[in-house]
Symmetry: C2
Subunit: 324 residues, 2 copies
């Protein structure tokens, strides 16, 4: 019979989970980390709950682990920072299978490893629902902080990659029949985008090779439309988006209509790309450096409205917790 | 009718809760903090769940907030560090009353204020049970880190205050009839100890006035016996505890037998005092400085067994999540 965590108890589970942490960090009241002199500390927290953010229907425990970590590392990337480590707070029903928890940690540490970082602490606790609270820590030189508050009229708006794929992947997982005519390669791309999104920590060095200028931006975790609107609201500016400049890759158009593809790109969320506002010349060099999926999709304006072609860009109700 | 959080939605709730954070810290993907040059960063996480760690029976929402913060700040104190801030991840059922959440935050910020620190970030999420995940951040000079691994034979074992009061307060709240003969002042002391425990950040300056020596210790959040046993296990030493040196204050003896009082002191937990191992002269000066409730209760030995008077000190099953 499969072990559940109540069979091994809290201490037994802790011992197993500590194997996923660097040994030198374990065992005291708190973890000790070094922040390089002159660097600022960056901190972000996410709570993910079974049935709200993930489900056995669409995501294996490894995928849940990967996604929880990726979402937090994306917030670290969105500040221009490099990760120092994460803490993991788990709420677990006593009948949770031990395998599920171990696979969750395997997914988390696999994602962390890609970005050269680790679990530095945590806590586990009995609960009636599985919840995963992650706090990610990072460090950044103060002049390299990426901020939502710094967009200026004339800045080009850059996205580091495609949008809408994760939302399409979710749709495909929830309603497999919808994908019956989909090419296998398109299917893989969409499902990977949903299950294994990649925080864009990889593009920061390219950015800093081009500029030490203060940069405006954020990640597109709640969708591309949300990111542009939030940057404009925080910076008290507006934007003009060129609809045709938003890349809608073949995998997406192979699955849904162009209209639906655009809707997914604008409002789907969880693509974890960065949306950056840069002087045009730097934007062009940056897009060329990081490759074909990056694009300039418009520019910042002094008028405080956000337009896509001739329409006002609005935020759909989107995902509001508690209200449904 | 009282508002529940589903009436105001996630954005509405976030706006209300942001009033409890310093305004300069809000609104970006992550918070930025400064760690002073030469200081190490200290990080600790706790998850607390309704019905497991707190209950409306024994703790008001303000008390829950205070206790969650106090437990985390105690871990910061146990590392010898000063707090930089906390992040708060909340899981909330949609029918949670708005007042409950606001009072939780009032309790948290009230406790934080006593220790000159703040909420620097957080997340809220729909869940089927109330959970509070707190990550506390602190900073410490590397030579002032208090560690479980540094106890040496000959060190005096110091406690910074009384033990057992919080456990007695909980008993009184769960079974009010047991306190029918208790003096009002004793009742207040016990209930305050449970509902408003004080992390001992206040004693660190006194400690450092006496020594820059590396210090062994931890907090007594899981009970005094657990703290002594853990320090001894981590440092590969033993200890001799003098039972009569453990202070059992009048409020405790007014409520239960001396035998029960000692049991609460050793195993009750959640008193959030510090247990420190110091050279005898420094220990004596330290106890004199911080006052009457502090005491030297024994000393560290080379033999790897922990004795209280002539008995071996053992750990009761204590509080094991998942196993009941």
């Amino acid at each position: 019979m499969e072990n559940s965590i109540k069979d091994i108890g809290e201490q037994g589970l802790l011992k197993i989970l500590q194997q996923f942490c660097p040994p030198e960090i374990i065992g005291d009241d708190a973890a000790i980390l070094e922040v390089k002199n002159g660097h600022s500390l960056v901190v972000t927290t996410d709570v993910l709950v079974d049935g709200v953010h993930f489900s056995d229907l669409t995501t294996s425990p490894e995928d849940v682990g990967w996604r929880c970590v990726a979402a937090n590392l994306s917030d670290i990337a969105a500040m221009g920072a490099k990760p120092l480590g994460i803490t993991v707070g788990l709420g677990l029903p006593p009948d949770t299978s031990l395998d599920w928890v171990i696979q969750l940690y395997e997914g988390m540490t696999y994602c962390l490893k890609q970005y050269d970082t680790v679990i530095v602490g945590g806590d586990i606790c009995r609960s009636s629902v599985i919840s995963v609270s992650i706090t990610a820590l990072g460090s950044v030189l103060p002049n390299r902080i990426i901020s939502r508050f710094l967009a200026k009229p004339g800045d080009a708006i850059v996205i580091t990659g495609c949008h809408g794929l994760s939302r399409a992947g979710l749709e495909l997982l929830l309603h497999p029949a919808k994908g019956k005519n989909l090419e296998p390669n398109s299917r893989n791309i969409l499902i990977q985008a949903h299950q294994r999104p990649k925080p864009r920590l990889d593009i920061l060095d390219s950015l800093w090779n081009l500029t030490d200028y203060s940069i405006a931006g954020m990640d597109s975790s709640d969708g591309l439309a949300d990111a542009v609107l939030q940057i404009c609201r925080c910076s008290q500016v507006g934007a003009k988006i060129n609809q045709n400049a938003i890349p809608l890759p073949y995998a997406l158009r192979n699955f849904v209509s162009d209209e639906q593809a655009l809707d997914y790109a604008l409002y789907g969320g969880e693509d974890f790309e960065l949306v950056l506002c840069l002087p045009l010349e730097i934007a062009e060099a940056f897009v060329e450096t990081i490759g074909q999926n990056a694009a300039i999709i418009g520019h910042i304006t002094a008028e405080k409205e956000v337009r896509i072609n001739d329409r006002l860009l609005y935020l759909t109700e989107g995902y509001q917790h508690f209200s449904h």
